[in-house]
């Protein structure tokens, strides 16, 4: 009897242990893709530390790139460990694994051809460390530039968007407006907004307002055209249904035409944002004394190519953030649409 009891106890114990293990097994999982970024960051670090810089390299003392790699290593290891436990992180990080690896391999490649072997003229192709240094040296100026560009862009897009919506609705909704305004738009619209620069500089009191005008102009055209075509191509049956339900003209416009045209209007907004970046850069190079476009242009004239690249990177991130933000808003507003492109 006694022996039996003891035996069953150990069996219980064993079972319990097994349970814990299997529970952990259910939670714990490993995806080999989550290790790839760690490996590539390690390769990048080894390359940077152990391969000596070329003897003619200017500023070999700059360490920003290496610090960046150390931080990357820390982050990569952290994510890999978290991936073991948390499924959501594992899936997303694992999915990005190959891409992140590629990024660090590419950086290593750049590092080798610039700092290590000096295969390219230094003045145009500075080492990565020097580009990174700019972010720390020029922080204040860069932040002012971001702020200034952002303000120009927001003002330009806002004004252009409002005017574009008004014109687009007018043309799409009213035959008379279509008769009078549409030909004007057909003539003025396709002119690239930078062509207006000379006129804008004369008409507007300062370069900033001229820049806002140039941005607003491009946005206005895109929004007008797509709002109008969106409204015109709304399935007529929706208006018929609405009017048998008691809708009047104003309901047909605000409750049918605009929501139905919203996907097209958004397309216009997306195009407008993209072209507004072009207009912004062009506008900032004509006479503004701040802004990212101005910064890049000015540094180019000073032959400070490290700063040019740093500026370009910031512009890229800046545009990326704005476009992503826009897509987030769209996903909220247009979630009813089938099969929309995710950003």
């Amino acid at each position: 009897m006694e022996i039996n009891k003891a035996a069953s106890k150990t069996r219980d114990f064993k079972l319990k242990g097994l349970n814990i293990l299997s529970a952990l097994k259910g939670k714990l999982a490993f995806d080999f893709r989550t290790v790839l970024p760690v490996t590539s960051v390690l390769i990048a670090i080894i390359t940077d530390v152990f391969i000596p810089n070329h003897k003619n390299l200017k500023h070999p003392e700059l360490m920003h790139y290496r610090y960046f790699l150390y931080i990357s290593l820390f982050a990569a290891v952290l994510f890999t460990v978290l991936s073991l436990f948390i499924k959501k992180i594992r899936d997303r990080y694992g999915y990005r694994g190959y891409f992140l690896t590629g990024v660090y391999i590419f950086l290593t490649f750049l590092n080798i051809i610039t700092a290590k072997l000096l295969l390219l003229p230094q003045i145009y192709f500075p080492s990565i460390a020097r580009i990174f240094e700019v972010f720390f040296d020029d922080t204040k100026l860069l932040l002012t530039c971001i702020g200034s560009s952002f303000m120009l862009l927001v003002k330009g897009i806002f004004i252009g968007f409002c005017l574009g919506m008004i014109c687009g609705i007018a043309i799409g909704w009213s035959k008379r407006c279509n008769y009078w305004i549409f030909p004007i738009i057909r003539i003025l619209g396709p002119i690239p907004s930078s062509t207006w620069t000379p006129l804008a500089l004369v008409i507007f009191p300062n370069a900033k307002s001229a820049a806002v005008f140039l941005i607003a102009f491009g946005v206005w055209f895109q929004i007008t055209v797509l709002t109008c075509s969106g409204i015109k191509s709304v399935n007529k049956a929706y208006f018929e249904v609405a009017s048998t339900l008691g809708a009047r003209d104003r309901h047909n416009l605000f409750k049918i035409a605009l929501p139905a045209a919203a996907p097209t209007i958004f397309m216009g907004f997306f195009n407008a944002t993209c072209s507004s970046f072009v207009a912004l850069m062009a506008a900032e190079m004509i006479g503004c004394k701040s802004g990212l476009g101005w910064y890049v242009n000015w540094q180019k004239q000073m032959l400070a190519y490290a700063n040019v690249y740093a500026g370009l990177i910031i512009i890229a991130v800046f545009c990326y953030v704005l476009v992503t933000l826009q897509f987030r808003i769209r996903d909220k507003l247009l979630s009813w649409q089938e099969g929309i492109v995710k950003w």
């Binding site: 249904v241 048998t244 339900l245 008691g246």
Partner: protein
């Protein structure tokens, strides 16, 4: 369920109506010619006839979506010139608003008429009635064709129109849902006294539901025969589907349709 206070009249008189369309080649097509009918308040009418004989056109004329080339149509003595909420239309194709969820689709009419607050309760009642509870938040494209058609029906009904025009509303439904919806429709019809004008291809459905059946013929496009359905209604307000009277009338209608020389074909145009 809903207060029976909505006593509607809803008499339709169609006087010498002719409707012509211009087709893509610029030629004139006569969709309806010399139509003269009176529909009494609270009557249930079924329109039956082959594809392209002008049934949808007839409904759209009453709805006010199109105007007759000649002649006039009156609702309770008032000439119909434009669409209005007192003449609801359930379209052949449900055409739900894809940007609104099911609830908001059904509530649309009440909202644009600014009576949503007082009659909010009815939106839920109609959602229950068309058996779509739990789908309030769903979007139209997430529903099957039959479900969408039921939303279309609820959307028109919630407005409590005097005249409800139905263009093959149950065509996409399976047999069970179909019979169910027929009974529900009859219940609403009795309760509210709504005049119902319904296009159908199903002779059984027409005999089961209607007070009178209008048989239409193409070329010349007009209402050929009006057949009164003199069969007593059962407690669900429908007719006993297997009674001798039912079957007799059914074969009579089929004879009339055959006599016109055209087969009944299912309709595929949307």
């Amino acid at each position: 369920m809903v207060e029976a206070a909505y006593k509607s009249t809803g008499a339709i008189s169609v006087r010498n109506v002719r409707k012509e369309f211009t087709d893509t080649k610029g030629e004139r097509v006569v969709a309806l010619d010399n139509v003269n009918v009176d529909i009494y308040p609270g009557e249930f009418i079924c329109l039956i006839g082959p594809s392209g004989c002008g049934k949808s056109t007839f409904l759209r004329l009453i709805a006010g979506l199109i105007t007759p080339t000649e002649g006039e149509i009156f609702l309770d003595g008032e000439k119909i010139t434009k669409p209005g909420h007192e003449r609801g239309l359930v379209f052949q194709d449900p055409t739900l608003f894809p940007w609104l969820n099911i609830y908001d689709n059904i509530a649309f009419g009440l909202k644009v008429r600014h009576i949503y607050k007082e009659r909010k309760k009815e939106v839920r009642e109609f959602i229950r009635l068309v058996k779509l509870e739990g789908f309030e938040k769903a979007l139209p494209h997430q529903l099957s064709g039959g479900m969408q058609q039921r939303v279309g029906l609820a959307r028109a009904l919630v407005n409590n129109p005097k005249v409800l025009l139905l263009d093959e509303p149950f065509g996409a439904l399976d047999a069970f849902t179909r019979m169910n919806m027929q009974d529900e429709l009859l219940r609403i019809w009795k309760e509210r006294g709504t005049t119902m004008i319904m296009v159908t291809h199903d002779v059984d459905e027409a005999v089961y539901l209607s007070d009178r059946i209008f048989v239409m013929t193409p070329r010349p496009a007009k209402i050929e025969t009006i057949i009164p359905v003199d069969i007593g209604r059962n407690k669900k307000y429908g007719r006993k589907r297997d009674s001798a009277d039912f079957l007799n009338l059914r074969s009579k209608i089929l004879r009339v349709l055959n006599f016109t020389g055209k087969e009944i074909q299912p309709e595929y145009n949307i």
